[in-house]
């Protein structure tokens, strides 16, 4: 604008301050957006940098060794890797079964709209309780509850590998049960979403042909939503691998692995929680190696789960 304008004119070009602050703001939000990626990169880099030394030192023997002795500078995480997989397996088996059942009840018209909302909030409440509180509950409620049952099973079925020891306190079974509770909300929420994404007219068509509710569920809903439910299980598995406190308190912190449900064990995350606070220099480096292993496993599982979810929702688009 070349000539001076009276102030009454409505339209005006942006002032210099407006233009410059706008550009500055644009740059600031881009930097902060990128900072989230940098943060993730920094976490991976920092853990791997500290793990590097002990990776070269202990190499792959780290995975097969069963000794964890800071005084002799001997470290191995075989019991932890096996224990993480074993407890997560039981948690996923139970949590998957219960979680999908809950998701069905929340999405297939078993309850009124109001009832579904209340139930959904209750499941979210389950996720809101801190894991350390579940750990405390496990120690004082679950373990005393399980001990006589475990004793009976060991007396009568002791030859069976799963029941080959007695439950003296912490152990694989209470740890897996609490882990089940911890992954239940994730599995429920994600599979509920997968079930809700199935176009209603598929179910309506089946009902119209005379199918009962469970026939619709087993032959229409679950097969159609199977990719999404599988994604929910993978995400639940990712949570189970990384869950720390409940396992640090209930798994028993034992440097052994046993198939028995009642014997103490350990997991990668619990190892970190139990040893980090008092570790010396060598042990810290070995723990960083273990943390790196945990990081790689959980990131892989989570990225896999997210990709499956993305493809699952994309796959349903054609049915709409």
């Amino acid at each position: 604008m070349s000539k001076e304008k009276p102030h009454t004119q409505i339209a005006q070009v942006p002032t210099g301050w407006q233009t410059r602050s706008d550009v500055a703001f644009r740059i600031v939000v881009h930097v902060f957006g990128a900072a989230v990626v940098v943060l993730l990169g920094a976490i991976v880099f920092e853990v791997m940098r500290h793990a590097g030394g002990s990776m070269l030192k202990y190499r792959l023997g780290f995975f097969s060794g069963s000794v964890w002795d800071a005084n002799r500078d001997q470290f191995g995480i075989f019991p932890e890797v096996a224990g993480t997989l074993y407890t997560s397996f039981w948690a996923l088996l139970l949590g998957g079964f219960l979680g999908v059942t809950l998701a069905l009840i929340l999405s297939q018209g078993f309850l009124s709209r109001r009832g579904e909302l209340v139930m959904k909030n209750v499941v979210e409440l389950l996720a809101a309780i801190p894991s350390v509180v579940y750990g405390l509950w496990g120690i004082f409620v679950l373990v005393p509850l399980l001990r006589p049952i475990a004793g009976w099973l060991n007396d009568h079925w002791g030859a069976f590998p799963l029941f080959s020891t007695r439950l003296s306190g912490p152990g694989v079974l209470p740890a897996s049960l609490v882990l089940t509770i911890m992954i239940l909300p994730t599995i429920t929420a994600v599979s509920r979403e997968a079930l809700a994404a199935v176009p209603p007219r598929l179910a309506a068509a089946a009902y119209g042909l005379g199918a009962t509710r469970w026939e619709v569920i087993f032959r229409v809903m679950l097969p159609t939503a199977s990719a999404g439910i599988f994604g929910a299980l993978v995400l639940g598995l990712g949570r189970a691998f990384g869950e720390t406190m409940a396992l640090a308190m209930l798994a028993g912190n034992a440097q052994t692995f046993s198939w028995s449900l009642f014997s103490p064990g350990n997991t990668l995350a619990a190892l970190l929680a139990n040893h980090f606070p008092e570790a010396g220099e060598y042990e810290v480096n070995a723990l960083m190696y273990a943390a790196g292993v945990l990081l790689v496993i959980t990131l892989t599982v989570n990225i896999l789960g997210s990709l499956i979810m993305m493809r699952a929702t994309a796959g349903l688009r054609g049915l709409r």
């Binding site: 579940y134 405390l136 509950w137 810290v284 989570n302």
Partner: protein
């Protein structure tokens, strides 16, 4: 399916409800089984709440929140330093995570569009959501505790901030995207710049949704133990104004006292759990109330 339907004397399928029909029987039994399993799955929640009230409730008193943690074998005392410590760590964490999370959310909702960087940022946020919380602690340990050679409240705050950022960012993005496009267009049409539109129209409108995300992040952070275990550590004394020193927290107190052979300490662990769960639930309910407030566009 005709074989499964009972037939009436005149040969037409019987449409009246009857458990004699195998399909009806299977259907109803599965429903009962599913509801039973759901009740079984939710039993731990009610058991936890019951135990918190029974074992933690009787210690509730003003002195619980004003006195220091007792030493092993001692009677009395409270959890005052731990409750204060949790609040301080959460404040430190918020100082980092609020600006980062909200500005990143603004980037995702207002500037990223379908760009490649936007997709990467969103994916990084999802990956951070699923990252085990103990790894945030390992990162803060490696980056801060090792460098400063001291466990500190500051390191604990940083570890906790990492857990809050993705929640704040992803829920913030949803809230900002829910603001109708016509409000942006109206502001731009009035001659506002994009920054002015974002800060003075979009952000205030989306504030309830963003606050919900912040509350949920705070609730989650408050209950986290693993990232504090070897960053903030624990302290038996009051916070003395130094962020560079170890600090107590409710969650670490529960962990430390849970394994204690002294009955009084485990009672205090239950009391601390009750206080912690109450704080977390209040934040969760507040988040729900904010988001339910009726909006008019």
């Amino acid at each position: 399916m005709a074989d499964a339907t009972t037939e009436s004397p005149d040969g037409s399928p019987e449409l009246r409800f009857s458990f004699a029909n195998r399909r009806t029987l299977v259907d109803r039994s599965l429903t009962v089984l599913a509801i039973g399993l759901a009740a079984f799955a939710l039993f731990p929640l009610f058991s936890v709440l019951y135990m918190l009230i029974v074992r933690g409730g009787h210690l509730l008193s003003p002195s619980l929140l004003t006195e220091l943690t007792p030493g092993a074998g001692m009677e009395g005392g409270g959890i005052g330093n731990a409750a204060l410590g949790t609040l301080i760590v959460v404040v430190v964490a918020s100082l980092f995570s609020l600006p980062l999370g909200i500005l990143a959310a603004i980037y995702l909702a207002e500037y990223a569009g379908e760009s490649q960087l936007g997709t990467i940022v969103r994916f990084a946020g999802k990956v951070l959501t699923g990252m085990p919380s103990i790894l945030a602690g390992v990162f803060a340990y490696a980056a801060i505790v090792v460098t400063t050679k001291s466990f500190s409240a500051f390191a604990g705050g940083v570890a906790m901030a990492i857990l809050m950022v993705p929640t704040i960012m992803l829920t913030g993005e949803q809230a900002l995207r829910a603001v109708p496009e016509k409000m942006r267009l109206a502001a731009l049409g009035m001659g506002a710049s994009r920054m002015e539109t974002t800060l003075r129209v979009v952000l205030p409108t989306a504030l309830p949704g963003i606050l919900t995300g912040v509350m949920l992040a705070l609730a989650r952070a408050m209950g986290e133990t693993a990232p504090l275990l070897f960053t903030a550590l624990f302290s038996d004394y009051w916070f003395d104004g130094k962020l560079g020193a170890p600090i107590a927290s409710l969650s670490v107190l529960i962990y430390n006292f849970s394994g204690s052979p002294f009955a009084h300490l485990s009672e205090l662990a239950w009391a601390a759990s009750l206080v912690l769960v109450a704080l977390v639930l209040v934040l969760n309910v507040a988040a729900q109330v904010i988001i339910r407030r009726p909006k008019e566009f």
